[in-house]
């Protein structure tokens, strides 16, 4: 039976490039996908594009393409990536220019557009924001971007036009894998069972090393050999949609039923209703089987229908977050950190600092899990050092700065032995998610050739 081999070249925007290069050289791949777009990355990219209309794609695009282009020219491996972010058309032009500089010929680079629905935003103001349950119009004046998670359609069209590199903006992560499988096997868009299986393959690839031993090791319980050199995953998919996951034998990491199970459940809610623009996938009856070392067969995924709605990320300016920290050590350090907390609370209370939200953590004591879980894990609660962390969200930068100054002032005005103050202020772009009808999306494919 015919099979297609698809590898993962990145699991997030800043991921390592070496494992991708190794896969392209030695993985006998037909396709490699680079998933490089987190929830708010695209909103930040839209701001870049506003400053410079030629920018707004992944800042590592050129770094990655420098390594990948010579391999694309040598091997017939097709590249599919969402590194186009807010500007896939300019990204395709940038790749073309890089190929020309290197004397590489015979490549077709396709940009997929249609995810940017910012110009429609006026129609969506009455819609409910999924995160808050409030209407979108409440943040109307702060909105800077709106991008729908589009599906595999544009990728399939680009591959039909013989593209070697397909570069998209906001596409649902599994669609990067569903697209090539639809194209190669000629599956129908209403073949929801196979779309569900292809979505499972995409879901397993989209986080890179998270299925090959990354985000997994726990010495004494879950061992991983050579994690420093962890390889990226390869999926081999047949016409029935059965998936075999593996890695290069020479790469570090492990592919086991345990790593695969953890990644199947990663970032899903109801396993019978995994929503993508292509299909409502059903992973609830999925099965895994280790067929040989570092090879796991995944079967039993399916799908039911399409939802008809596209999740859309609306980016909006959301003020500032300040984080300020100071450390205390030795016996009594927790008491001194507590005294510093009291001082900060009183200083802010007696000031005219305006905050929207505020938190104080004791790193080394209770910063991750709060008091009750932390106490049950460590009943005596007596660390030899503790780091006090103050974090606040403010509308204005001056208030964020003032909070940072209050923490710095603990050096000379606070408890004994306070050291290592660090202050970081970020301006925040947040995401409000809405559901828009499929009919609002108009996909287009634009090709460049060298």
């Amino acid at each position: 039976m015919r099979t297609i081999r698809i590898g993962a070249g990145a699991g997030y925007a800043g991921d390592r490039i070496e494992p991708a290069v190794e896969l392209m050289k030695n993985g006998r791949l037909d396709y490699i996908i680079f998933e490089c777009l987190a929830e708010r990355t695209i909103a930040l990219a839209q701001q870049e594009k506003l400053k410079d209309t030629e920018k707004g794609f992944n800042p590592l695009l050129e770094y990655r393409m420098d390594k990948i282009l010579p391999l694309c020219a040598k091997n017939p491996i097709k590249v599919i990536t969402n590194m186009g972010a807010a500007n896939p058309v300019s990204a395709a032009k940038a790749i073309k220019a890089m190929a020309q500089e290197r004397g590489i010929r015979g490549l077709k680079i396709a940009a997929v557009t249609g995810d940017d629905v910012y110009s429609n935003i006026g129609q969506y103001l009455e819609l409910t924001v999924m995160e808050t349950g409030k209407k979108l119009k409440e943040i109307q004046t702060s909105i800077i971007s709106a991008n729908a998670y589009i599906g595999m359609e544009g990728i399939v069209r680009a591959l039909k036009e013989n593209a070697d590199i397909v570069i998209t903006g906001r596409v649902s992560d599994p669609s990067l894998t569903v697209g090539p499988l639809m194209h190669e096997f000629g599956w129908e868009p209403a073949d929801y069972e196979r779309l569900g299986k292809a979505t499972a393959a995409g879901h397993l690839l989209e986080c890179g090393a998270q299925v090959t031993g990354g985000y997994f090791a726990d010495p004494g319980y879950k061992e991983v050999e050579g994690l420093w050199n962890v390889g990226f995953p390869i999926t081999e998919i047949n016409e029935n949609g059965d998936i075999t996951l593996s890695k290069l034998p020479e790469a570090g990491g492990v592919v086991s039923t345990a790593t695969v199970k953890e990644q199947i459940v990663y970032e899903i809610h109801d396993p019978a209703m995994y929503l993508t623009p292509d299909v409502i996938a059903d992973f609830s009856q999925i099965e895994v089987d280790e067929t040989s070392p570092d090879h796991v067969l995944v079967t039993g995924a399916t799908g039911t229908r399409k939802s008809g709605f596209y999740k859309t990320s609306v980016g909006y300016q959301d003020g500032y977050i300040v984080e300020a920290e100071i450390s205390y050590g030795g016996s009594g350090c927790f008491h001194r950190a507590k005294l510093a907390e009291e001082i900060i609370r009183k200083r802010i209370e007696h000031s005219n600092i305006h905050m929207k939200d505020f938190t104080i953590d004791f790193i080394g004591v209770s910063s991750l899990y709060g008091e009750s879980i932390s106490k049950s894990l460590n009943p005596n609660n007596l660390p030899s050092e503790v780091r006090l962390r103050i974090a606040a969200r403010t509308s204005e930068q001056k208030d964020a700065l003032a909070i940072g100054q209050e923490v710095e002032a603990l050096y000379t005005n606070g408890p004994a032995g306070g050291g290592g103050v660090r202050v970081n202020i970020e301006d925040i772009v947040s995401i409000a998610s809405i559901l828009i009808p499929e009919s609002d999306i108009h996909i287009d494919v634009l090709c460049e050739e060298v």
Binding site: E39, R40, M130, E131, Y215, F216, D218, Y221, K222, T257, A258, K261, E262, Q263, I264, V265, Y266, E267, I268, H269, D270, P271, A272, F283, S284, Q285, I286, E287, V288, G300, D318, I321, D357, F358, T359, D361, I363, S367, L368, Y369, G370, E371, S372, I373, S376, L377, R389, A391, A392, R393, I428, V429, S430, I431, S433
Partner: protein, 103 residues
């Protein structure tokens, strides 16, 4: 015994929702873990962190439970003030839950 002795786990995030898996190493432990680690128990365990509902989904053929916890990430990854904005470390806390398994 800690849950960690018989199961493993991974946390994921979407917006302000965290999901934590509990996956048994031995399929024979699945029913027992299912009966012991309920949605109510997980909600109570994370009460200081999770402000919304906890729902439990089952993937019986891989011996996995999936706990979906709403309003769990301080408003969501992009605006949370928590040190661990994604809640990545929640799985480690859940694995330290003390359980008493019936034979």
């Amino acid at each position: 015994m800690k849950l960690k002795e018989i199961a493993h786990s991974r946390t994921g995030d979407k917006g302000n929702i965290s999901n934590v898996s509990v996956i048994v190493y031995e399929m024979g432990d699945y029913e027992k873990v299912k009966n012991t680690v309920t949605a109510d128990r997980v909600k109570e365990y994370f009460q200081e962190i999770v402000k919304g509902d906890v729902k439990r989904y089952e993937l019986p053929k891989i011996g996995a439970l999936n706990f979906v916890m709403e309003n769990a990430l301080g408003g969501g990854v992009t605006r949370s003030l928590a040190i661990d904005r994604h809640g990545k470390s929640l799985s480690s806390a859940l694995m330290d839950m003390e359980i008493d398994l019936p034979d």
